[in-house]
């Protein structure tokens, strides 16, 4: 708490100095991060986006960021301080900042806000997210082929639509290539806690999982899998290439840089408008990290074919027939899920066991 206050006041002081330097041409861009920039995953990639903004615009922008800001009410203070310090646009990069972003945005109508992975917008609040589930489909396909125990462990963070979409997408595609596959899901209730993530991975491995999928931000599950030996993992949010070729056999990479540059440009041009952006593999917001040689050639080819089909818009990972967990039909044969349902997804698909906590 105190560390944040310290950082915040430092940011504030910097900001005041910035505004004092008169209303010059620099656009001030703020970022609120949920973890440390060195997490090697989610926050790391947002930080790469921030650096890309700096590089692209040079002297025309000034960027500030605050890391490890807890989700919930406390984040309002961080955003308020950033807005007070003269930020023109603020990116709030975690789902849990949704309501705080809306609240703070009301108080600062002239500041533009961009909230990642949420669904609440306002005149000065845009939302943006990536279609991670497209990457999850490819992970599921590889996982289904690779598992020998037919048990796949999934370290989930919080029961929010984004995470549930990922689970469903991975499960559907694993099941398609391997009907015997089973998913064990552990809710870690954290985005970032390396020790807990490692414990969760170990618990899953001890119970027979030989594939670990993670929706938490650190590389700890990769290290746990490596230690255990015959277990494969996928990089989450970032490439996590240090763990290739085994256990990390591929990854989902978030590429925020083009979007951030685009939006900052829009603020500079005065063309910024509130909108919802949800891009996937096609536009390049979601990247698939190199599939290593640990994966058999034909599986790799199948995975890449699926990637191309998704990128080209020929294949949607949620294409019917798909039933919900309780057996009620969700999508008919050939029907494709609409974005509204996906954005608010709060149910498992048929075949998954356990309940979604809420």
């Amino acid at each position: 708490m105190n560390r944040r206050t310290l950082l915040a006041s430092a940011a504030l002081a910097l900001g005041l100095a910035g505004t004092a330097m008169a209303q010059d041409d620099t656009t001030k861009v703020g970022f609120i991060y949920v973890g440390p920039v060195g997490d090697g995953g989610w926050t790391y990639e947002h930080e790469q986006g921030r650096l890309a903004v700096e590089e692209h615009f040079g002297d025309k922008v000034e960027t500030v960021f605050q890391e490890s800001v807890p989700e919930g009410a406390d984040s309002e203070r961080a955003m308020t301080q950033m807005a007070l310090s003269g930020a023109d646009i603020i990116f709030t990069t975690s789902f849990g900042y949704m309501d705080p972003t809306i609240n703070v945005a009301k108080k600062f109508p002239d500041v533009k806000f961009e909230h990642a992975t949420g669904y609440k917008r306002a005149d000065n609040v845009s939302t943006y997210s990536a279609r991670f589930y497209e990457g999850r489909a490819i992970q599921g396909l590889i996982a289904g082929h690779m598992t020998e125990t037919n048990k796949i462990g999934y370290i989930a963070s919080f029961p929010i639509p984004e995470v549930i979409r990922g689970i469903n997408s991975a499960y559907l595609h694993a099941k398609e290539v391997n009907p015997d596959v089973e998913f064990s899901i552990v809710w870690a209730y954290t985005w970032f806690d390396p020790a807990k993530e490692a414990d969760a991975a170990n618990a899953l491995i001890e119970q027979g999982a030989d594939v670990i999928l993670q929706h938490t931000d650190s590389t700890a599950p990769q290290a746990a899998a490596e230690k255990a030996g015959n277990v494969i993992t996928f990089g989450q949010a970032s490439d996590m290439g240090d763990y290739a070729p085994m256990p990390r056999v591929s990854s989902i990479i978030d590429n925020w840089a083009p979007y951030y540059i685009d939006r900052v440009q829009a603020v500079m041009d005065g063309t910024w408008e509130s909108k919802d952006t949800w891009d996937g593999i096609g536009p390049g917001m979601v990247g698939i990290g190199e599939i290593t040689d640990a994966v058999p050639e034909e599986v790799k080819a199948e995975a890449l074919a699926m990637k191309d089909a998704i990128a080209a818009g020929e294949y949607h990972p949620f294409t019917g027939p798909i039933n919900k967990q309780d057996g009620t039909p969700w999508l008919a044969e050939g029907e494709v899920a609409d974005d509204g349902t996906l954005a608010g997804m709060d149910f498992y698909v048929e075949g998954l066991t356990g309940e979604i906590p809420n």
Partner: protein, 307 residues
């Protein structure tokens, strides 16, 4: 629900690993508090130990050297707390919090080049004969050196405090520094030694996280473990074996809840997730309801020979 997939032997084994960092930090902090000093900087010392241990292990290829360096680095860091609070009489709570901030910042500075790197880790060290016993063997006697060492440390602290003259003096200083001073004991020197010991233990705990349990360096990786260690000292009423029980209970419930989830229990996850904290609070309430806390009487009070 299929509890059959949970292997109790592996469960106990992994809970011991999971509890070792907080056990090490907590037993060190207990000695510090027994001497009458409240050092809230455990988190900062742990993470410093984590990063220094990792860096040294990576550079030398020896996890043993990593642990030694971690202990030394955290102990030196804790001495800054010692000098500030014992000689300059700064407020212990504020200084301790400051120490945590310094540790977190310093560690991310030192750790930048080590992100994503891999270090040599401690090999498992099955104890001869004991490790071959059925059930008990794989549960208790097939760990790495630090797990045994942490338990030995608890035993040593217990015996030291209870049976030795040095332990008696330490406790006397913690109970009434004025009386101990009147008897001619060097209160400040004794407290500095306790702080140094506490720092070294926290450093070992941190290094265990980054070298064995996770094992890698990630910024902010202690994620509150130091605060849990502090709570466990209170939970244990400042008694060494209870520190062990507290740490294992906490580690145990954490690991158990993850295992129960992986096995697909129908118990709501929220309850499982909060269970370690609930149990800690419950025990604290039971202890305080009994009226005796066991806190050293001079805990957190500044001492100066002229007062």
């Amino acid at each position: 629900m299929d509890l059959g997939t949970i292997n109790p032997i592996l469960l106990v084994a992994s809970l011991m690993v999971s509890a070792t960092p907080i056990l090490l930090a907590a037993i060190g902090e207990m000695v510090v508090e027994k001497s009458g000093v409240l050092n809230l900087g455990v988190e900062g010392m742990m993470i410093t130990g984590a990063v220094v241990g990792f860096a040294v292990a990576v550079n030398t290829g020896s996890p043993g050297l990593g642990f030694a360096a971690a202990a030394l680095a955290s102990a030196l860091l804790s001495l800054s707390f010692g000098v500030l609070t014992q000689f300059l009489l700064s407020n212990q709570v504020a200084t301790g919090l400051g120490l945590t901030l310094v540790g977190l910042g310093l560690s991310s500075l030192i750790g930048k080049p080590y992100e994503g790197m891999k270090s040599p880790t401690l090999p498992d060290l099955p104890l001869p004969l004991l490790a071959d016993m059925p059930v008990i063997g794989p549960m208790l006697f097939q760990h790495d050196l630090m797990v045994y060492l942490s338990i030995a440390l608890v035993a040593a602290v217990w015996a030291g405090l209870k049976f030795t003259r040095a332990g008696l003096i330490l406790r006397a200083v913690g109970e009434s520094h004025d009386a101990a001073h009147a008897l001619g004991y060097k209160v400040v020197r004794i407290r500095l030694m306790a702080i140094f010991f506490g720092g070294a233990c926290s450093g070992l705990g941190g290094a265990y996280l980054s070298l064995v349990r996770v094992p890698q360096w990630t910024e902010g990786m202690t994620a509150g473990a130091g605060w849990i260690a502090l709570a466990i000292v209170v939970f244990a009423s400042w008694k060494p074996w209870r520190v062990l029980i507290g740490a294992y209970l906490f580690g145990g419930v954490t690991v158990l809840q993850l295992n129960l989830q992986a096995a697909g229990t129908r118990l709501p996850v929220e309850y499982l997730s909060m269970s370690p904290y609930l149990i800690t609070i419950l025990v604290l309430v039971i202890i305080s309801a009994r009226g005796y806390h066991g806190a050293p009487a001079s805990l957190g009070r500044p001492f100066h020979a002229s007062h």
